[in-house]
């Protein structure tokens, strides 16, 4: 759901960009406290992997496609702060090199996918993790968090479109959230598969398993 330029007005683009920049600055500051060679390497690999996975558009009903956003995946492996940076890097490279997502709308896209999608999904994951650390509960929390990350991100994207006066707020919200409730299922399948795989071969790489970041 990369918003192209022209879909949102300047005030929406600027205000989301300011909030995004602020949150990312705070995230960088926080990540620095546990910055180690391993964390940087893991962030790089996760970022490259999520970029690659985002290229895979899977078809859903009605001639529509969806692709992974990766917010929950990044948040659960790396914690929300490093996760937000990782997704932001993907979005910045996509906007400036691949013409995917607007340049003026970049702040809004970072806000929806790298901030709301990441911190939102992490909160859900963390709350469910409070119940139990068992593997089944862990995988359920991954599924719920990844589905919601897409749905919340689409809700905010629709909100920005509505505020910009691009189309009537109510209808946009209903349409965007509706279609992303289905796309979110793809997000769940990919996220659970990747996390379950990492959890099996290198559980130590899921940094949020042992402590909260």
């Amino acid at each position: 759901m990369h918003i192209p330029d022209g879909f949102i007005d300047l005030k929406t683009a600027v205000s989301t960009a300011v909030v995004s920049a602020g949150v990312l600055a705070a995230a960088i500051y926080k990540v620095k406290s546990y910055f180690k060679a391993k964390v940087i390497a893991l962030m790089g690999v996760m970022s490259a992997l999520i970029f690659a996975l985002q290229m895979i558009n899977f078809p859903i009903l009605g001639g529509t496609s969806g692709h992974l956003l990766g917010g929950a995946l990044a948040a659960i492996v790396l914690g929300p702060n490093a996760g937000a940076i990782v997704i932001a890097v993907v979005l910045i490279v996509q906007a400036f090199i691949f013409m995917d997502g607007g340049v003026i709308a970049l702040g809004a896209n970072i806000f929806n996918m790298a901030i709301i999608g990441v911190y939102g999904s992490y909160l859900i994951y963390w709350l469910i993790g409070k119940i139990s650390k068992k593997r089944t509960i862990f995988l359920i929390s991954v599924a719920v968090a990844s589905w919601l990350s897409v749905v919340i991100a689409s809700f905010f994207a629709a909100l920005e479109l509505g505020i910009s006066g691009t189309y009537a707020m109510g209808i946009t919200l209903k349409a965007m959230v509706g279609v992303h409730m289905i796309i979110g299922i793809g997000e769940v399948v990919i996220t659970v598969a990747v996390i379950a795989f990492i959890n099996k071969i290198r559980p130590d790489l899921i940094l949020t398993r042992e402590r909260s970041l």
Binding site: F7, S47, F58, S65
Partner: protein
């Protein structure tokens, strides 16, 4: 590392099977009739690999494949630079 290989394989070989249907937002914009509001603020020629098409080759599959590979390498390079800065900063202390 497994992750890097996986990223390259997905970006280079799985990406060519990607669906070309409009994504959720594009579909909503089409249905509600505001897709034409999309603007090209920066000219397409300013982008290195616009729309995931690696222009230096003619074959469509390779265009996607090389675009994916470039993206993965660019992102790894970004974090490589971060790593070098981190190491350089560590030495000063």
């Amino acid at each position: 590392m497994v992750g890097i290989i996986a990223a390259l394989v997905i970006a280079m070989f799985v990406s060519v099977f990607a669906s070309s249907f409009p994504d959720g937002l594009e579909k909503v914009a089409e249905n509600l009739g505001f897709i034409d509001k999309a603007e090209q603020v920066v000219p397409e020629s300013a982008f290195l690999i616009p729309d995931y098409v690696f222009g230096a080759v003619d074959n469509e599959l390779w265009q996607t494949s090389l675009a994916g590979m470039s993206g993965v390498l660019i992102i790894l390079a970004v974090f490589g630079v971060v790593y070098l800065i981190y190491k350089a900063a560590g030495k000063k202390k």
